[in-house]
Subunit: 83 residues, 2 copies
């Protein structure tokens, strides 16, 4: 079995209101050294079978088609084989 971890983040230049709010909250709590906050999604998939190459292709397709909005978001992922 393999576990794929997909990280979906807003592209640079896309407004991130949630991140801005967290940034403001941190400032009011005295964390003055935090200059920027960005919020994204983190998705874990448990996958069975397939070769590493096929898994990579599959997770890439799933991330692109279902887990992210390619217009405003980008994604990265890594796949870990588990016993």
């Amino acid at each position: 079995m393999a576990v794929a971890k997909v990280y979906v983040t807003l592209k640079d230049g896309i407004l991130d209101p949630q991140g801005q709010i967290i940034g403001k909250a941190l400032k009011t709590q005295g964390y003055d050294n935090v200059s920027r906050v960005r919020v994204g999604k983190f998705i874990e998939l448990d996958l069975a079978g397939e070769t590493p190459e096929k898994l990579k292709k599959q997770v890439d397709k799933i991330s692109h088609d279902l887990l992210s909005n390619p217009v405003i978001e980008s994604y990265t992922f890594d796949i870990q084989e588990e016993a």
Copy 2:
């Protein structure tokens, strides 16, 4: 400057409706080898100054107090120093 990446996930045993819906969507699209989907948050913080130990403490406190709900969520993070 340092970049902290915080991963917030639901604790085991906590119902994840969003993950279940994605799992069902994947099944209807023919991805039968995906057995489990969990959705979490991914937060990136840009931090200035401080020693690595202080940064670690600070990010741990921020993650615990502000970025996660410790009752139902757990978090991990890693900090990368940048030039």
